[in-house]
C-alpha cells in the first residue's frame, strides 16, 4: 500500500471537514471581525443531536436503512444548530457590537464553556459512539484505500461549499452579506438590514457546522463533549491559512491543513529519525498558524492585513 497516497486521501477527507467548519469562522470574521470561539462547540452540538436522533430511531426500529437514519439525524441537527447560533448571536454578541474588541471575544469563550458543560450534563462525560450503520464499501485507488464514507464526506463537503458559494455570489442575501462585510454603515444606508444579515451569517455557518459535526463523528465513529474545541481551533487555523474573511480561502485552507496534518503525522517519525512521533499531529495546525501569521498574515488568498485586525 502506498503510504503517500493513503495519507493524501486521509488528509483530503479530514481537510474537507476542516474547510466546512472554517467557513463558519471566516464568514463571521469577515462581517464582524470577531473570532466566534463557540463555533467549534456548535459543531459538537450538531454531532450530539444527530447521534441522539439516530439512537432514538434505531431504538424504535432497528431495521431502518442506515443511510436514512443518518440523514434523519442530520435533518434534525441542522435546524437545532441554526437556532442555537441565532440565540448565541442575539444574547452574547449583539449587545457588545460597539464594545471594545476584547469584550465579545471573552463572551465567545464564555459561551464556548457553557455549551461544553451543558453538553457534558446532557450527554455525559463518556464518548458517544456512532453506530456502524453506514455502508462500508472500500475501493482501491493508486494503491490506497478509500471507503464509501470518505467519498461521501468529500462529495457532501464539496456540495455544501458550492451551495454556499452560490448563496454568497448569486443571491440578494449574499450581496447584502458582502456589502455588510465591506462596510456596515454604508450597507445600512443602502437599505440593508445589517442585524438580519448578521443573524443569517451565523445561522448559515451553523447549518454547515452541523453537517461537519455529523461527518466528523461518522468518520471517527464517536463524539464527545470536548470534540469541538480542537476541531474549532484547527478550523480557525485553516481559515487564517486561507486568508480570514475569504470564503474560497477557508475552503483552500481547510483542505491544505488536512493534507499537511496527515502527511506531517505520517512522515514526522522518519524526518526526525524517530525522535518525534505521530502523536504530534495536533502541533502542525498551530505551527502552520504561527508561520502563516508571521510570514503572510493576510493568508494565501486574503487581502486583509493582520495589523489592521
Amino acid at each position: 500500500m502506498d503510504i503517500f497516497t493513503q495519507q493524501l486521501i486521509n488528509g483530503l477527507v479530514l481537510g474537507s471537514i476542516y474547510a466546512l467548519v472554517a467557513l463558519g469562522y471566516t464568514m463571521v470574521y469577515g462581517i464582524l471581525e470577531l473570532i466566534n470561539f463557540a463555533h467549534g462547540e456548535v459543531t459538537m452540538i450538531g454531532a450530539m443531536v444527530a447521534l441522539s436522533v439516530i439512537g432514538v430511531l434505531l431504538g424504535a426500529s432497528p431495521d431502518l436503512p442506515g443511510l436514512m437514519v443518518v440523514i434523519a439525524g442530520l435533518l434534525v441537527a441542522i435546524p437545532a444548530c441554526m437556532a442555537l447560533a441565532f440565540g448565541i448571536e442575539k444574547i452574547a454578541y449583539r449587545p457588545l457590537r460597539k464594545a471594545p474588541r476584547l469584550a465579545p471575544l471573552i463572551t465567545a469563550i464564555g459561551v464556548s464553556i457553557i455549551l461544553q458543560n451543558v453538553a457534558m450534563l446532557v450527554w455525559g462525560r463518556q464518548y458517544v459512539s456512532f453506530p456502524a450503520i453506514l455502508p462500508r464499501g472500500q475501493h482501491e485507488i493508486l494503491g490506497a484505500h478509500i471507503t464509501d464514507l470518505q467519498i461521501a464526506i468529500v462529495v457532501l463537503s464539496l456540495l455544501s461549499m458550492a451551495g454556499l458559494w452560490l448563496l454568497v455570489e448569486k443571491t440578494r442575501l449574499g450581496r447584502a452579506m458582502r456589502a455588510t462585510a465591506q462596510s456596515k454603515e454604508v450597507a445600512e444606508l443602502m437599505g440593508v438590514n445589517v442585524d438580519r444579515v448578521i443573524s443569517y451569517t451565523f445561522i448559515i455557518g451553523a447549518a454547515i457546522a452541523a453537517i461537519a459535526g455529523v461527518m466528523v463523528s461518522a468518520y471517527y465513529g464517536l463524539a464527545h463533549y470536548y470534540m469541538g474545541f480542537m476541531l474549532g481551533l484547527k478550523a480557525f487555523s485553516a481559515a487564517v491559512l486561507g486568508g480570514i474573511g475569504n470564503i474560497a480561502g477557508a475552503m483552500l485552507g481547510g483542505l491544505l491543513l488536512g493534507v499537511i496534518e496527515a502527511l506531517g503525522a505520517g512522515y514526522i517519525g522518519d524526518l526526525t529519525g524517530g525522535f518525534l512521533g505521530s502523536h504530534y499531529q495536533d502541533v502542525f495546525a498551530f505551527l502552520v498558524l504561527i508561520l502563516v501569521l508571521v510570514f503572510r498574515p493576510s493568508g494565501l488568498l486574503g487581502e486583509r492585513v493582520a495589523s489592521r485586525a
Binding site: I35, L96, P100, P104, N117, F229, L276, L289, V294, P297
Partner: protein, 363 residues
C-alpha cells in the same frame, strides 16, 4: 491625614499575617490550601496583567510560562534527574527561562495585534502542553501524561516547608508556611507591578496600548517595549510556576491547559484590567467561588437526598455564565481603573472613537 493610610496599612498587615489562622480555625485546613492557591493565582494574574492590562497585548497562552517555571523546578529539584538544587537557585532560573521564552514568543508576533495575537499565543500554549505530554520518549524528559512527582518542597535554612513546624508551642502546618512564602512573593510582585506601572516603561506601555502609531511617533521603541512586556509577564508566570511545583510536589500537563490561561485572563477581566486591586479581587473571587460551589453537592444531598448534578460539572457552567454576564453588564470589571471606567461609560462619539482604539489601531 498621613496617619490614616499608615494605620490602614498596619491593620492590613496584621490581617494578612493572621489570615491562615482565622481561616484554618474557622473553615478548616483545606481552606488554607485554597488560600495558598489564591495567592498563586494572584501572582499569575498580576503577571498577565502586565501583558494584557498594561501593554494591551492579548495573550491566551500565558499558562505556558507557568508550565515552564514548574517543569524547570521539577527537573532541578526532584529525583527525576537526581538533582536537588536549593529553591533560591531554581526559582530565579525558572523565572528567567520563562522570560527567555516570553521574548522568543514575542519576537515573531510583534507585528500582530488584537485577536490574531491571541490565537498565536494560544497556539504557543498548546504546543508547549503537547510537548510536555509527549516528551517521555525517546528519552524521558517530562514523564509524559503521568507527570513528575516527589518534587522537593521549598526549604529555608534547613527548615522544610513541606512538613509542619513547631514554633513556641504552636504547630504550623505546611499550608501555613507556604502561605507566608507566597504572601512574600505576592507582595514583592505587587510592589514591582505598581512601580512598573508608573515608571517610564509603564507609561510607554500605556501609550502603546492606546495608540501604537502615536507611541512610535513619540519616540517609543515599540519593539523593545513590547518584548519587555512579554518578558516581564512571562517572568512572573515562571516564578509562580516554580512555587506551584514546590507546593504541590507533583505536576502534570493537565495543570497547564488552555482553560487555565483563560481562567487567569478572566480574573483580570472580572476584576478590572490594568488596575492592581481589581486584578487581585478577580483572582480571589475566581479561586474562592469554585471552591465554595463544591458545597452545592452537600446542599443537594441535604435537600434532595442525592446528588443530582455533580457540582464539579456545574462549576465550569456557572463560570461560563458569569463570564458572559460580566461582559454584558459590567464590561470594565468590578474594580476598574479610573481611566478605563471613563472610557467604558463615555457616551459621545469622540470617546467612542477612543474606546475603539483601545484594542486595535483601526480608529
Amino acid at each position: 491625614m498621613r496617619e490614616r493610610p499608615r494605620l490602614a496599612l498596619a491593620l492590613l498587615a496584621v490581617l494578612l499575617a493572621a489570615l491562615p489562622f482565622l481561616i484554618g480555625t474557622g473553615l478548616g485546613n483545606s481552606w488554607v490550601r485554597v488560600l495558598d492557591f489564591v495567592l498563586l493565582y494572584v501572582l499569575l494574574a498580576l503577571g498577565l496583567n502586565i501583558v494584557v492590562g498594561y501593554a494591551g497585548l492579548l495573550d491566551l497562552g500565558y499558562i505556558a510560562f507557568y508550565a515552564l517555571g514548574a517543569y524547570l523546578y521539577a527537573w532541578l529539584a526532584s529525583p527525576h534527574f537526581g538533582l536537588h538544587l536549593p529553591f533560591w537557585m531554581v526559582l530565579p532560573l525558572g523565572a528567567a527561562l520563562a522570560g527567555v521564552f516570553g521574548v522568543l514568543l514575542g519576537a515573531p508576533t510583534l507585528r500582530l495585534r488584537g485577536d490574531y495575537l491571541a490565537i498565536v499565543t494560544l497556539g504557543f500554549g498548546e504546543i508547549i502542553r503537547i510537548f510536555m505530554n509527549n516528551l517521555n520518549a525517546p528519552f524521558n524528559l517530562t514523564n509524559g501524561p503521568q507527570g513528575m512527582n516527589l518534587i522537593d518542597p521549598v526549604s529555608i535554612g534547613g527548615v522544610s516547608l513541606g512538613k509542619s513546624l513547631e514554633v513556641a508551642g504552636i504547630t504550623l502546618p505546611s499550608t501555613y508556611l507556604y502561605y507566608y512564602l507566597f504572601l512574600a512573593a505576592t507582595l514583592l510582585v505587587i510592589v514591582v507591578a505598581m512601580r512598573l506601572q508608573h515608571s517610564r516603561v509603564g507609561r510607554a506601555w500605556a501609550a502603546l496600548r492606546e495608540d501604537e502609531i502615536a507611541a512610535a511617533a513619540m519616540g517609543i521603541n515599540t519593539r523593545n517595549v513590547k518584548l519587555l512586556a512579554f518578558a516581564m509577564g512571562a517572568t512572573f508566570g515562571g516564578l509562580a510556576g516554580g512555587l506551584f511545583a514546590a507546593f504541590q510536589g507533583f505536576i502534570s500537563p493537565e495543570s497547564f491547559t488552555l482553560w487555565e490561561s483563560i481562567l487567569v485572563l478572566c480574573m483580570i477581566v472580572l476584576g478590572g484590567m490594568g488596575n492592581i486591586p481589581g486584578v487581585i479581587l478577580g483572582a480571589v473571587l475566581l479561586t474562592v467561588i469554585p471552591e465554595a460551589l463544591r458545597y452545592i453537592g452537600d446542599l443537594q444531598r441535604a435537600t434532595l437526598g442525592q446528588v443530582v448534578v455533580d457540582p464539579a460539572d456545574l462549576r465550569m457552567l456557572l463560570f461560563g455564565v458569569a463570564l458572559v454576564a460580566m461582559m454584558l453588564f459590567r464590561p470594565a470589571g468590578l474594580l476598574p481603573s479610573r481611566q478605563r471606567k471613563r472610557e467604558f461609560s463615555a457616551q459621545d462619539g469622540v470617546a467612542e472613537q477612543e474606546q475603539a482604539s483601545l484594542y486595535d489601531t483601526k480608529a
